[in-house]
Each structure stands twice: as C-alpha cells, then as structure tokens.
Symmetry: C2
Subunit: 388 residues, 2 copies
Amino acid sequence: MTDVVIAGIGQTEVGEHWDIGLRDLAYAAIHDAVEDAGGLKPQSLFVGNMLAPNLSRQAHVAVLVADFAGLNGIEAVTVEAAGASGGAALRQGYLAVASGFVDVALVVGVEKFTDKVGAGVDEALATTGDADFEAVQGVTPAAQAALLMKRYMHEYEVPADGFAGFALTAHANGVANKNAMFRKAIKAEVYAKAEMVSDPLNMFDMAPNADGAAAVLLTRRELLPSNYKNPLVKVAGSGASSDTLALHDRKDMLFFDTAHISAGKAMKQVGLTLDGIDFFEYHDMFSIFAALQLEAVGFAIKGSGWKLAADGSIGLKGSIPCATMGGMKARGFTGGAAGVYQAVEATIQLRGQAEANQVRDARFGLIQSLGGPASTSVSHILQRLDQD
Amino acid sequence: MTDVVIAGIGQTEVGEHWDIGLRDLAYAAIHDAVEDAGGLKPQSLFVGNMLAPNLSRQAHVAVLVADFAGLNGIEAVTVEAAGASGGAALRQGYLAVASGFVDVALVVGVEKFTDKVGAGVDEALATTGDADFEAVQGVTPAAQAALLMKRYMHEYEVPADGFAGFALTAHANGVANKNAMFRKAIKAEVYAKAEMVSDPLNMFDMAPNADGAAAVLLTRRELLPSNYKNPLVKVAGSGASSDTLALHDRKDMLFFDTAHISAGKAMKQVGLTLDGIDFFEYHDMFSIFAALQLEAVGFAIKGSGWKLAADGSIGLKGSIPCATMGGMKARGFTGGAAGVYQAVEATIQLRGQAEANQVRDARFGLIQSLGGPASTSVSHILQRLDQD
C-alpha cells in the first residue's frame, strides 16, 4: 500500500478565546496547514467536533468550516465520538486517502468551550455519557473519573500524591510550547495543596477545557508537491475500538480494553512492538486515564502505570516520554480538537522540530484519543520516513 | 475494484415512538439487518444521527448503539451532516469496505424526535443552519424553505397548487408501505385546503418529523455467506459535496449545486447517464427541495421540476419514479436515519420485493440525502446485480 503522509499541520493557541468563534478557530488552523503543505488543495474535509450542538447551538459544523474556509464544493462531514472525535476524524481521513477514493483529505478538530460557562459546560460534557442511566443521575465525567481513581488507589495502595507525576511532567513540558494554555512548571507541593474537584481527584488531576483548533492535511506520498520541504511523516497504523458507554457495565473498570485493542491494531498494522515506540501522546483528560492507558497499551503492568509518572519514566528523557508538548493537562483539553492536536504535536516531534521538547531520535510516535472513560479509543502510529 | 454489496437491511416503523428510546430503535433495525444478511458480523459501525445531542441530550450515540446491540469492541463512530447524516454515514461505511480496511460495516441511521416537543424540536432543527447568522434571527428550516419556494414560484410563475403532485405521489405510494407513518392517499382538494405553515409552504409541502431507525450491512461480494439468499444489490457509485451553510450566501439559491455535483460524481463512478436511472429517492423534506433536486440532477430543466410532479412523471409508472415507498412526506422524516431509509427502500426495489410499489425492471436507483438547503448533499447509486 502507498504511504499516507501528513503533508501539513496547523494549530491555534489553546485558551479562552472569548472573541473568536468556531469558524474562525478552524480557519486559522486550516490556513496554516495548507500553507505548511505547500498549497495542496483538499477534496474532503473531516471535522472532529464533540459538543458544538450544545456548547454553540451549532450542528452541521463541517459545512460551517468548509464554507468559511472557502472550500465550497468539497465533501464535508463531522465525525463525533465524544473526546475521541479528533482521533476518529483523523481515522476517517486516513481511510479515505489510503483507499484511493480521496487524494487530499483535510482533518480539522475544533471546539469552542467558552460559548457556554459554568454548569452549561458540565451539562454539555455529560451528554457524552449515558443520558438515561448516568447523566440523569448527575454523573459528570469528572465525578466519574474520581470514582475510578478512588477505586484504583484503594486497589493498588497508591499514596495520596501518587498521581502528581502526570501533572508535573505535563506542566514542565508545556513551558516551551507556545500554543499551550499553561506554560508554567509546577512543584510537588503545589499538587499536594491543590483544591479538590471531586475527592481524590484534584485540580491538577484534570485537564482544563479550552478553545482551540488543529488541522492536518493528508495525502499519498506521490502526490506531494515537487517543492515539498518538510521532513516526511507517515500515518503508519490506525485502530479504533468501543466499549460499554457506562462504566458500571464493565467487568473490570480498571482496565481500558479499548485502549489495549486500538493500540494493538495500530501496532499490528506497522509490525511494531512496544520497544519501537519512542513517545506516547495519551489522553490525559484525567491523570487516572493516563495511568490506565499506560497499562492498557502495555508500558506498565496492571496497577503500576502511576509509577512511570512517579519515577520520571514519562519525562522527555525517560523510557517512554509522554505528553511531550504539555499534553491535555498543560496544553488544554480542546474537546473534538484534542486528537488532532496530538497528531500535530507528534508530527512536530517526528520532524525533529520540537526544540526544547524534542524526544531524541524519535521515529515512531503513538497517539491515543479517548471518548468517555475509554468507551471509545482511537490510536494512530505516526512514523518519520527516511528521505533520499 | 471488488463489488461492495448491501448484504442486509432493517428498518423500524416510522412514527411517534414515545416509549422507545434511541438505543432500542437502533437495535431493532440492526437485529433485522444482521438476520437478513445471514448473520454476518460487523467490525465497524457508522451511525448517522442528526440531533440527539439536543433532542435526547445524548452525544456519543454510536457507542450507545454498539453497546446496546452487544457489539462491544468494534469501531463505532457517529457521522453528522444535518439531514444528510444518514447518507454521509452510508458513504463512510462504503469507503471503509471498498478500501479493504473493513470487511463488514454496519451503517445505522437513528433519530428520536419525540424526546422533545414543540419549540424544543424547532430549536434543535435550527442548529443545522448558521447559528450566528440564521438561527439567531429565528430562521427555522421550514421558514427558509418557504422563502425559497416563494422565490421559485415568483420566478417561474408556478400556480398555487403547482407543488401538489409531490405530496399526492408520496401519499399514494405510502399506502402499501407498512413502515410508513402516513398510509393514506390524499386528493388535490385536501392539498388545496391545507393549513399554511409558512406561506406559501403548507402542511403537505413538508415532511413530518418522526422517530425511526434503519440499518444496512455492507460487505464485499466474496465475503457473503455461502447460503446467502437475497438478490444481490451493489453500491455502485457514491459522491458528496458541500455548499454555503447559509442560503443568503448563494449566488443562485434556486439551483442546488451540491445535488448536481454529488449525483454527477456517483453517476460518473458507475459510468451511467440519466437514462439509466430507474428511480430516484430524493430528499423531500420540503416539496421545493424535491423540485430543485429534479432540476439539479438533470431530470428537468431549471424552473420545471415541479411539472414532473404535476404531470405524473414521478409516479411509479412515470418516466422517473420518485419517493417510491412514500418518501419523507408519507414515510416520515427521520433525521439522521432518513438517508439510510432511502438505502433500505432502494434495496427492496432492486431486489424486486417492493410488491405494490415495485418499479418495473428496476436496475439502478439513485438516492440523495440533503443537509440544510442542500448545504450538504450525498448521493449513492445502488445497482441490482445479475446472478448466476
């Protein structure tokens, strides 16, 4: 099969963009991605969006974006899988290009949290759970993550500050990322004193909701412009999986089956084992998610994912660098854009352009996007290609 | 390229299912589709849904559906393109199977309008337009269609009852469709006396919002079970296109560019001209949409689409039979399920199982799904395959 490459990338600063709408955010990312790709024109647009129908009273987002970007005529479709919407849109774009049906696909993730405030955001986020059996009881994603974290800490005797390493690493890596929402390193004492959101989950165990858009332009290698300048990055593997929507229906809620299955599918496609993965962009919406993903993918045995954060293994020079540009904790959680930010950041790493955040000799990066408590998981492996 | 066939179909009755939820509706259609396909197991699920985040406070619908159907583990993603969500989901499923990445794809359309009532439904429907420039002014899809119809009638000097033929044909064809919401033929006098919704658009110029789910199971021909019994129907062509989200941004609002482009792409893929199309399932959410689609696809010249309804050409024995099982007008408009209902009904026609509604010697059917005022259009051509 022909190589599907990431020809261009774009991203906006992540933060509270009170005065910028969905369409403007998306366009900024598209503009940069198209320019970065040397002007390649897409035929299809796949938009990852999670909550605009509730946050912004706007459905049909893909057409809103295509229209404002002057792309009238092209195919435009919105892909939704809760927090994994960005990863799912990337996968649809990848399938379209790999299949030969589409030559150039534009994948855009966009979310605008600040169109709502306070309880309106929590209500919108709760729609990603089971409306009839979870949301109606008032279970928000954060409350649910806290229950998961409490059970994990009890089961595996994790100390109170056991999860601190996830936030410390993310914030340390966010400092040099000019698009990150938080660019300030934090100390262990800050984590220890942080306000509780839902015991035992504190303010630093959870990523901030933020506005942002990210875009990647996918094409087949042979279709790149002759003057193409960027180091080549390939989408080498792709996998997706779903589990029960509600956490209470799982046989074992402390193992993220979908994270295991989707990463396994992507690795199998590449013919890669864990040793070959140079960095891992997990879905650290909550620190407990990061720990469970490290275990599900296989970097740690069950109950010990948190130790990789505590002992520095997930640092830029550790055995498996994670959240290398700040992750969701420091960059910000951009809803349906989150999975596309992962792809953009991984591409920067694989191009060798991550500067202070560069993972040395990065050749394969694993990115993983989750929807709900891993009710959906979409994994991709991006690969640096050697060039003549 | 290998043939992608519709191995199984399923649909629920269309109507007001006050006591049945999203997941139950979807499951009923899936059950029938899997059984019809001889038990084929899908690896990927593409759900077309338009408004559940607002109507049912439920996002992440694909996982809700996969979970309830006992399909945990499979890829599950929601595809949204307003009223074209069903057509767009069908296209994603088709691309996944045609590409070889997926062997069996399940495409489900589902919508549950009765989770909201009255203004709540109008508010939800308005999210499919431009939130900042249309919905905020109170423009609902029906009000917009009325403006379009008024302009058309003025421009082409259409008499007051010029659109009656669309409703009369749909209702006549709905009588024998046991899944249709309205199974009663109407007379011209009834149309003439109908209550206005938004002048000149009356109650019979518009399809009723309704609950329902439809499903098709797609696979490659060689993967069909050895005991497969149904006549073979192939997805022969597929095309999609987008236009401005807001009607006021069109150069010519009386020509549906996307309907022209998407149908053209699908026909080009098959190598088919208009003469070869035996019936057309249009997106008759509004009678004016039906007229404009007949013109955009090429069955009528500009300004004369309504005449095909007035002179009986769209009847079952006419030159281009439309809404052959009642269309959206009589079957009901099922939101993100509408495009999948079209695929199910076209398959029944092509299998030769449409009984009283059978289009004689039907070999090629064109189905077209619209989002907004053709801001999105997705077209497919289904083909009856000759068997040994």
